[in-house]
């Protein structure tokens, strides 16, 4: 089957976004929705497509092969890799729920046993320190949690009220601290592993937050991407936020936010219809590390800011 001509598939840059090249050899579906990198073997990539199932590359995207699985023909919205055991993968499939593989994608099991039926699942996050703990964002049901690798799920949305969650991020240093981007309710925060939630974003009230990111080097720095008003930044763990939209369309829909692992001053975002953008924060590091550890927590890492509007 020839891939639809209107889709363009996957692109790769090796120069920080100065130029991109299509890397679609072997793909039979170019509606690329989700991509994930094996953290221990970065040349190993997983790709989820819309109604085309899963593909895998072992050579940094030079070529792809279809993964035979129950996901064939399914719409894959997200791929999550266990950071401690990268052969364990979770895939979020539209209208299906969560699939899990413990052998690098050779076999899969549906982990939706007690998920509420009829709900669309939008986002999945894994606790980096206790990876059997998962959080699942489900449209119409808000937030669910599993503490056994997806075997069972239970609601985890006390305090979210009427605001359905759209996205979720976990503090990598303190995984009991979570942030949820909601539909029309801004950002909510939990400091008890999702048991209770409170609004963390007066300025974002009314905004729908579809993407969230936490600076792993300074976890009080957060980024929230909205579906129609660009991107916001917090330097105080969600207490206050400011727009950082210079250079973006005022109505930008932010689908993904990336921070460079070795230098989180380099930010990348993906948007719904305006492509990719890069920003470099003006950072003054009083004690630069010549060989930074991406997992390190850096205290006293001041960021140069503009005035609040």
């Amino acid at each position: 089957m020839q891939p639809p001509t209107y889709s363009k598939g996957v692109f790769k840059t090796i120069n920080g976004g100065e130029s991109w090249l299509a890397i679609n050899t072997g793909l039979t579906n170019l509606e690329a929705r989700a991509i994930a990198i094996d953290p221990e073997t970065p040349a190993r990539l997983y790709l989820g497509t819309y109604e085309g199932g899963l593909f895998k590359s072992e050579n940094g995207g030079e070529s792809w092969s279809a993964m035979m699985s129950p996901l064939n023909g399914k719409a894959v919205l997200q791929i999550v890799i266990n950071p401690q055991t990268p052969s364990t993968l979770y895939v979020l499939a539209l209208d299906e729920g969560v699939y899990k593989s413990t052998d690098g994608g050779q076999t899969w099991a549906l982990k939706s046993a007690n998920l509420p039926p009829g709900f669309v699942h939008l986002s999945l996050a894994i606790d980096p320190l206790t990876p059997e703990t998962l959080y699942l964002v489900a449209m119409g049901f808000s937030l669910l949690k599993s503490i056994n690798g997806g075997d069972t799920w239970a609601p985890s949305n006390t305090g979210l009220g009427v605001h359905a969650a759209m996205s979720i991020a976990i503090d990598p240093e303190e995984p009991s601290t979570l942030y949820a981007g909601t539909m029309s309710g801004g950002v909510y925060k939990s400091e008890d592993s999702g048991a209770t939630w409170t609004s963390a974003s007066a300025i974002l009230t009314g905004k729908s937050i579809r993407s969230l990111a936490i600076d792993a080097k300074m976890t009080s720095t957060l980024y929230a991407g909205s579906d129609n008003s660009g991107i916001y930044m917090s330097l105080d763990a969600g207490a206050t936020w400011q727009e950082i939209n210079e250079g973006l369309e005022a109505t930008a829909n932010i689908t993904s936010i990336l921070l460079e692992p070795k230098n989180s001053a380099n930010l990348y975002i993906g948007t719904m219809d305006h492509g990719a953008f890069k920003a470099v924060l003006e950072v003054v590091d009083p004690d630069p590390d010549p060989d930074p550890d991406p997992e390190a927590f850096v205290i006293n890492f001041p960021i140069v800011l503009r005035d609040e509007k």
């Binding site: 889709s7 363009k8 598939g9 996957v10 692109f11 790769k12 840059t13 090796i14 120069n15 920080g16 976004g17 100065e18 130029s19 991109w20 299509a22 890397i23 509606e31 690329a32 929705r33 989700a34 991509i35 994930a36 990198i37 953290p39 970065p42 990539l45 989820g48 819309y50 940094g60 919205l77 539209l94 669309v120 939008l122 950082i244 210079e246 250079g247 689908t255 993904s256 990336l258 460079e260 692992p261 930010l267 990348y268 975002i269 993906g270 948007t271 719904m272 219809d273 492509g275 990719a276 953008f277 890069k278 003006e282 003054v284 991406p294 001041p302 140069v304 800011l305 503009r306 005035d307």
Partner: protein
Amino acid sequence: MKRKALSLLLVLFVLLAMVHTVKANEPIVWTAINEGLEELTIGNMAIDPVETDTLYAATHIQQRRF
């Protein structure tokens, strides 16, 4: 007297901390990086944790339910 001196020291410490963390008024400016990117709707991106100039963008057409 001792209490006043301590209060003064505390105020000075807070002021110094503010100067240290907020140093200028440089805005954060986004620059489009779309050369060669033939589709501008990005569903998801990923960055290589080792070769951090290497990024991937999964693109698709916009007219979809999710």
